[in-house]
Symmetry: C2
């Protein structure tokens, strides 16, 4: 426990991710090759769109987690490579569909694919990537891992529908918010680390530990994302800030403010939530309200709590190859917000 | 051979489908129960949208083919029920996504779900159904069948992207058209009969026969659909007629007419292809051109050819339980057009 915390405190953001990248680099090279080989198609739009998202930007955090989880043990074959690639395809398919669902103009700082190739192509190439993800899982040949990954695909979609049905719903409560982020984000993190553990040959307890780690990390990650959508703790208003406000997403910062901000401020939020044309001045004012009433800090505090749970889930595995890096990654996921 | 053709000639449309329905009814009851149990969710939009498509309309042709294929042998467990349900979910997911892609207003004579619940919900509930389909396949526990079905999911999506990229492309050729329909339609028919055979315990030759039957039947089915979109041989202009024209789909009737119709008529088609606001008068005129230049007859002739291939693929299996019904279904798929 003491060792873990000491390690975590020494960390600053950049080196941890670089450590994870270095730790997984030779395996990730195989993952990238597999990804590229599975998007080849004589139908040009398929590799064009997939490449646009896969080759550029993106931290590849989820597949790196699968690889790192497997590397804690002794992967006997290349199953972990297939699962990591499948996880990345599932994530990419979700991004393509999310952009259509949210009518987003930007993705990873560039135009969203739907702005270049249209909604139709985004939906269909997403479906293609999902199909390829399932094929790769099937080829890896483990029904147990297939169950984990196919279940997460259904859970993610159900969570996204739940989020959609709760858009602009002022009666949304905190439990419902957590249900949404557990499904739409944490389910894939959880599956990513669990199938990594399975491919590595983890025993049941080790697999459960990595599964719990992934789930908690995913929750922390999404909480931070939801704070960052209003500028995070530093209040940096950059690109795409305020998308959640315009889309009427009932994220924790909003739920907190609706309850704890002065009535006049809460009223301002209610007025502008879900208004697609909310301009920069309005978004800045909302971000300021969230800052002032402590909503962003409360959100980050919850993220810290889940990051701590992620770390303590891994405690029994401390000492295994790369465990220290995964433990530090939990801090990194939250530090993005400051 | 003579017996088969004699049987086919005695048939009229309604009784064959009714025969298939009666033949598969007790198994299909289990399929329907499974379908309904797998769309339950506290997220209300999920069962609402899924039910809207699954409970109403729809012939359930594909899952019936899976069941009928399995019943030719001796299914030892309920795998064929799971596969039939998975095939129907894959089909339903495709319908939901296709409506978004084609911006369709109608589906099975009613409003398309996207007109009631929106594009976002249609995309996401489609994803949910795909996830459930994969879960059911995984639970059935046969990696071979999983490979067949996951491969078809990727092929279908790739075919749909190819079709999209060929929209309004006057250089599309007949080979490309067949590539599209083999992928977007025949791949699921083929997988439906193949996994049915696998679940039934067919040997390799029998499985290949049913796979070939499904593929040929699917091609015939889509050719007829493409003729029906311009009124079919009877020239009945009903609801949704002309959608393919407005969407710029390069279907065989259009390809035939562009090549064989008098230049003035071909020019009329070129002018109106892909125009979303093409009104009833324009659609009627195009349908008349397709009728006059023999494009619809040529399309139905190709469908008859593939239906014949479907039947001859099943010849070695004649005498097995329900083989006669599947043979007649091939005729039914084409007779819809007259």
């Amino acid at each position: 426990m003491t060792t873990i915390e000491a390690t975590a405190e020494q960390v600053n953001t950049q080196p941890v991710v670089e450590q994870l990248i270095a730790h997984t680099s030779s395996e990730m090279e195989a993952v990238n090759e597999l990804l590229l080989s599975r998007i080849t198609s004589h139908v040009e739009m398929v590799p064009e769109i997939a490449n646009y998202l896969i080759s550029a930007g993106g931290k590849r955090l989820r597949p790196m987690l699968t690889i790192a989880a497997a590397m804690m043990f002794e992967p006997k074959n290349s199953q972990h490579i297939s699962y990591a690639a499948a996880v990345e395809f599932m994530h990419t398919a979700t991004l393509l569909h999310d952009d259509v669902v949210d009518e987003s103009d930007k993705r990873r700082g560039r135009f969203a694919p739907r702005k270049i190739w249209g909604n139709a192509a985004s939906v269909l190439v997403g479906d293609f990537l999902l199909g390829q993800a399932f094929m790769m899982m099937v080829e890896a040949g483990d029904l147990g891992a297939l169950h984990v990954l196919s279940r997460s695909a259904a859970i993610i979609a159900e969570g996204e529908v739940f989020q959609l049905s709760k858009a602009n719903d002022l009666n949304t409560n905190v439990d419902e918010y957590f249900e949404v982020i557990k499904a739409k984000t944490a389910a894939l993190f959880e599956a990513a680390t669990e199938v990594g553990a399975m491919a590595g040959g983890a025993n049941d307890a080790q697999r459960e530990a990595l599964k719990a780690y992934g789930a908690e990390l995913g929750i922390a990650f999404q909480l931070v994302d939801d704070a960052l959508d209003y500028g995070g703790l530093s209040g940096t208003i950059g690109k795409n800030i305020g998308d959640d406000l315009r889309e009427g997403k009932m994220t924790l910062p909003i739920l907190h403010a609706l309850k704890h901000a002065p009535e006049q401020d809460a009223q301002f939020i209610r007025e502008h939530l879900g208004k697609v044309d909310a301009d920069e001045a309005i978004v800045s004012r909302v971000a300021q309200i969230l800052q002032t009433c402590g909503a962003l800090k409360a959100t980050i505090d919850r993220a810290l709590d889940h990051a701590a749970r992620a770390k303590s889930a891994l405690e029994p595995l401390a000492g295994l190859n790369g465990a220290d890096i995964l433990i530090e990654i939990a801090d990194y996921c939250v530090e993005r917000a400051s």
